[in-house]
Amino acid sequence: MRNLLPFLFLLLASAVAAQVGVSGRVTLQPYGDAAIGATVRVKGANIGAVTDIDGNYQLNVSGPEVVLVFSYTGFADQEITVGNQRTIDVALAESAAQLAEVVVTGYGAQKRSSISGSVASVSAEEIAERPILRVEQALQGRTAGVQVAQTSGSPGSVLTVRVRGVGTINNSDPLYIVDGIPVDGLDFLNPNDIESINVLKDAASAAIYGARGANGVVLITTKGGKRNQDGKISYDAYYGIQRPWRLVDLLDAREYATLQNEAYLAAGKTPPPEFANPAVLGEGTNWQEAIFEHAPIASHQLTFTGGGERSAYTLSGNYFSQDGIVGGDKANFQRATVRFNSSHDLKTWFTLGNNIGFTWLERDGLIENSQYNSPIIRALNMDPITPVRKADGTFAYSNYADTDIANPVNGIEQTHSTWRTNRVVGSVYGDLKLAPGLTFRSAYSLDATFAVQRGFVPRFDLSNVPSLSEAPAAEKNLVNSVSVGNFNWRNWQLENVLTWQKTFQQKHNLTLIAGTTALSNRYDASGGANTNLPSNDPDDAYISNTIDPIASQSAYQFASESSLFSWFGKTNYEFDDRYLFSATFRADGSSRFGRNNRYGYFPSFSAGWIASHESFWNVPFVNFFKLRASWGQNGNDRIGDYSFTTVVSTGQNYTFGPGENITNGSVALTAANPDLKWETSTQTNFGADFELFDGRVGLIADYYIKKTSDMLYAAPIPLVAGTAAPVQNVATAENRGIELALNYRGRISEVRYTLGGNISFIESEVTSLGRGGEPVYSGYVQFANANAAKTDVGHPLGAFYGYVTDGIFQSQAEVEAAAFQSEQTSPGDIRFKDLDGNGVIDANDQTYIGNPTPSIIYGFNADFSWKGLELNLFFQGTEGNDIFNSTTRYDFAYVNRPSSALNRWTGPGTSNTEPRVSLNDPNQNARISDRFIEDGSYLRLKTLQLGYNLPQNWLKKVRFDKMKIYVTGQNLLTFTKYSGLDPEIGNVGGSLEIGIDRGFYPQARTVMGGVSLTF
């Protein structure tokens, strides 16, 4: 520290030295276009300038020894020593964007060319060319190895993000870090505020996040201002209309009645008289058309950004609103955000900064993805005979349906459920320069969420005669009710990081990072409910307005806490820009871990070799070639806050006394597990980066093996324990995959184009469920009253499991010749395969019949620009995944069916795929079988955007820097064999509930127009 003071004087001295003016023009090779907005900065100081619309810049430097760094996105940096020049013109050369970009790696950043782990990135530009509604969508199809799937297409619903497949039967969500702050969920974040998203995929990269990194880490950086740039004001807005991209082909009223008649006769019953002449019934009601609508979507963003010599800032505000294609404003999502990021050099040795965002959001929720009572399952199953409304305009009910399947339009009408959140996510930090290359950062951050959920179920009764109230139970609610819940999350983090960077002998680059983190989370929830409000107006729905006695009120309150304390260290060493080494180590102590395993230790190592920088390298068309290898361990700490302890159960009673009084006894029936710890994932990664043909082609390839061990599972235990099995760290799984990302830049005459694509091949299976571990069943399907998915050793997670169909019995002789299925099996029923050959179709004849997880995910884009016109296409798809279609409630005889039911068996030779219809199903044709498994692969044109940048000479007159108008289409084309409303079905519910369509809220096809202007 003795050297520090002279160093400070040196800094001060240099600041007051004589200034020399330098100016020039920055152009872009090979065509000499002006580089607008390129940065010119003095190396090693916070001084710089930005080029104007002609590519000109001007700045003052302290002397001839100053080195200027010219940079422009997509082009290689150039460094020039000022010397005696007063005019410095620079022509920047294109670089493959992939290798030039700066990658945020957690407590630091590196150029992609010097990274030896595996990190995927999405830049602000990529986000900008495709309006996205939620941040996660920016990753979909853009990042190799990252699978993003909708949990619902309804506005504001979360997306599941899986980095390198599902590694655990438990929580598989990645860790999200926004500006250094760990956050739960990204719905608070405005996509327009994002500067970059980086996904740490391999264990070596994620190991710096230790016990939280096993499912990958998504690092998001929001936009801050840049030093030395003119203030800019920009306004971005779009407006669009969303529509369903397809409706399912269902039976119309005539067809429905025809099949119902057959079903009655097959069951030996008389068909209803009103179906006697199906032809007169006409088309009937199309319930899908009744619930789907054209819904608006809109966004407005205002951004102010700027920077002086010693500070920079960005202030942005955004308002976003989206209605649902089902439910319209009853499924509305609105979000307003304000963000203020700034940094200030208070002293030459001290910088103070903040990143603070406030979010207000409101989401009106319909019942979604429920096989019982969602509007969609009702629309797909409601008979086409019943009209939406009666003659008097009130909603009608079905004479055929009883439970579950009720009038979906009325169902939407009667839904009043709102989730409202106020959330502040922010941090303040100070950077202290202790010595050359040595900085210390201390950051305090807070993530505070205040959410309120309000629900109101009004009185209604669809009965024809109100006094009789003859409508079925699902079509009326005679007592209204109101509920409220308050949910608060309060998380703070204190982080201290010391960074030392030094170059020795111009060849050895060393970075050392060490730090500590303390993180504390608290969750509080409380709420209540009561019935009977005099008013049926949702605006009056407050518990205090209810008239039922206080005794009928319910209330609850809950709270939980967790904390994390960590030490970490990281070292990067580069030798001569050829050999790269990196090692990290993190120790995480967590309150979630059992007493015997309070701390977890997570190491990682990686190395890279840039072969193309070797003197012997003379492959002419390969400009850059790097080999990478890494190994590391991460943990998954999402194991519940108090899983190490166990609930004490009452009711373990005994009788005492002459009166044989039952006396309470209490004990934990399940063992506590003081050994409980994180789930461990160990991952080895091999990769290679190429830049070919003068940077026109970039290729990044990775292969990895990810082994998850210590996976939490309650495997059976020896009975000496005296308790039920506790959750233990016993199960294991393995994922393997290959990821490729390719980029090509080209130009034909005046047309510039970029073609890019990435593809990931994933294989995953459970390798152990612990000793004696029983398979896990999931994916309950109501119509079969059984689970459709099974997770067992040697198979993928949540694989579909059931019977195998073998055509339709054409005759009684075929029934008798086949294995016994049921006493009443008839011709027209499905023949199931007798896999164990014992002559009886029983539980042993079930097998794995499908895999819900794609084996290939891919995305590709094509971007063209000509003069001011831009055309961007972006496709995304999956291959090899199955969907279990459980959208028809076969457990009810009265439901409508897909029009494929018209191919039903009606006599020998009529069908070998679609069984006969019958009111009852004695053969259990609707049991879980491959009959309901469909190929869920799809290819989608996610975005097509046509934009026009208005010419500079026009804009100059109105003092605009930039103005772009565009039209965008989303989900314009979808190629899939899946017959349901949408093939893009992710996890709904737990992590083993994958690819089961229970009436999935589909994604919309959206067309929108927008404008983006900066001045």
């Binding site: 520290m1 202290l432 202790l434 210390f440 201390s442 204190l494 201290n496 500590t516 303390a518 504390s520 809950f558 709270a559 939980s560 806490e561 967790s562 904390s563 994390l564 304390f565 309150s591 979630r592 015997n596 806050d641 108090y642 302890t645 166990t646 609930v647 004490v648 009452t650 009711g651 373990q652 009673n653 005994y654 009788t655 005492f656 006394g657 044989e660 009084n661 039952i662 006396t663 309470n664 006894g665 209490s666 004990v667 029936l669 063992a671 506590a672 597990n673 003081p674 050994d675 235990i717 020896p718 009975l719 000496v720 324990a721 005296g722 308790t723 506790p726 233990q728 000793r771 004696g772």
Partner: protein, 496 residues
């Protein structure tokens, strides 16, 4: 100034580290978990009550009644039921041809270890509670008795078993067997402490009727000493029970077993049941009723399952002195006798099963059935585990072996006096045989016989014709599932 900066920096860096130990201690805030229970006297009582609850286990999940092992395995009874296929595993065991792969033994194993676990919870969690020390000592002693009782069951059935003296962490589940001797030592140690700290029967308030008494601990200790042939200790301890004046024989033998005879003056250790909870064929850990009543009742119009059928050999024993021992009519039903208020016992009325006898001690009347119309109603009969008559006969045996034949005869004849039959005057081996025979008659169908035969070495001779092989069938096989579950850490008994 730079030093201040350095210090600030170091503080920021290490300051958070200093308090991290408390920082990482987060206990559940809401809900009752092991982390926040066990704070009050009420919690301590609830904890030990949960251990008592395991005494009642009979189906967890398969049947493992004490009389399965004590009576059916012996020469006193055969399995019964609706036929050979009705709990066939039990028939195989009865024929000394049983498999280690049966849920009957697994359930017995499980129930005892569940009891041991709950006792261990009490012994770990109650000591730190601030409460009345006298009460605390009693609660801990109750837990020790329950732990010893479960180990007594295990060691007499399986020999050496894992010695679990604390709540196991998952890493400890693969525990190997301790030797039988170690288990016996452990039982002795627990009972020794329990018999010091437990309250005398008369010291408990009426509301605590049914709790383990000092006498119960002493009596189980006497049994333990007999198994270990520690005759002198057995004699001393049995005499301590006698001299406590807490117990006396019920005047009329027939009054011991009906519901009104529960917790009578000669009751030393009795498992409490009542008929107030519904039949529960799952794991009956929350059930206060006994399934013994319905299992042992005749089938047909009596609505039982007809298990535990007395043998002719057993009935004949009651006639060996030239008269009908009066205890027979309280022990078995014979054809023609009324079965309480359920009707007269005829072969036809029992559904045509060719059994001439049914056990009587755990018979209860229809009028005493629980009122909720359960098709398989559980009964309320307490399980009379140790009676004062047993203590007297154990004393006689211990006195005999310490060469005190007078004392032996005195205790033996005290039992015979109650039912008004002639005194035994025999000496030597004949006296010992008379004591053994008295146990069979006095304690018939109270689940003692098989274990008495094994303990006294008579089993190979008495059970020879039933298939008993010395050196093997003194013990039951360790449940195969548990050998697998521990990856072979548990070893099988010889001969299985």
């Amino acid at each position: 100034m730079k030093n201040i900066r350095l210090i600030l920096c170091a503080l920021a860096f290490f300051g958070v580290a200093a308090c991290q130990k408390d920082f990482l201690e987060k206990k559940p805030i809401v809900g009752v978990t092991e982390e926040n229970f066990y704070r009050t006297e009420e919690d301590a009582i609830a904890a030990v009550n949960a251990a008592y609850a395991t005494l009642q286990f009979q189906l967890s999940p398969a049947g493992h009644f004490r009389w399965f092992w004590g009576d059916i395995m012996s020469d006193d009874a055969t399995k019964g039921g609706s036929g050979d296929n009705d709990v066939n595993d039990l028939l195989q065991l009865e024929n000394f041809n049983g498999s280690s792969n049966t849920d009957l033994l697994e359930s017995e194993w499980s129930a005892n270890f569940e009891g041991i676990y709950r006792a261990n919870v009490v012994l770990e969690k109650v000591p730190p509670i601030v409460m009345d020390e006298n009460l605390k000592a009693r609660i801990l002693a109750e837990a020790r008795f329950i732990r010893a009782w479960n180990y007594y069951n295990l060691v007499t059935m399986f020999g050496g078993v894992p010695l679990v003296d604390h709540v196991l962490a998952p890493s400890e589940y693969d525990m190997p067997r301790a030797s039988a001797n170690e288990i016996w030592d452990f039982i002795e140690q627990d009972l020794d402490i329990a018999s010091r700290d437990l309250w005398k029967r008369s010291e408990y308030p009426p509301a605590d009727l049914g709790r383990i008494t000092q006498g119960a601990a002493q009596a189980l200790l006497v049994k333990t000493y007999l198994w270990r042939q520690k005759w002198a200790e057995a004699k001393t301890t049995a005499e301590a029970i006698v001299q406590s004046n807490e117990y006396q024989l019920v005047a009329n033998y027939a009054d011991i077993f009906p519901l009104y005879g529960e917790n009578n003056s000669e009751s030393v250790f009795e498992i409490q049941y009542m008929n107030a909870s519904g039949g529960n064929w799952g794991k009956n850990n929350a059930n206060e009723g006994s399934f013994t009543n319905v299992f042992q009742r005749a089938r047909g119009q009596f609505g039982g399952y007809g298990f535990n059928i007395p043998t002719q050999d057993f009935v004949d024993e009651f006639f060996k002195e030239g008269f009908e021992d009066p205890r027979l009519k309280s022990t078995v039903f014979r054809v023609g006798e009324p079965m309480g208020d359920r009707g007269v016992f005829t072969i036809d009325a029992t559904g045509g099963f060719p059994h001439l006898y049914y056990p009587k001690k755990y018979f209860s009347n229809k009028s005493e059935d629980a009122p909720f119309g359960d098709p398989n109603p559980n009964g309320g009969s307490n399980d009379r585990v140790i009676r004062y008559a047993d203590v007297l006969l154990m004393h006689a045996e211990a006195a005999y072996h310490t060469g005190n034949e007078d004392a032996a005869r005195t205790s033996l004849n005290q039992v015979r006096d109650r039912v008004g039959i002639p005194h035994i005057t025999a000496t030597g081996q004949a006296l010992l045989d008379a004591i053994y025979r008295e146990r069979r008659l006095e304690l018939g169908f109270e689940a003692h016989r098989f274990f008495d035969l094994v303990r006294t070495g008579q089993a190979p001779q008495v059970l020879q014709n039933l298939g008993f092989v010395a050196g093997i069938h003194e013990l039951f096989p360790i449940p195969q599932s548990q050998i697998q579950a521990t990856n072979g850490a548990l070893t099988q008994n010889p001969g299985y």
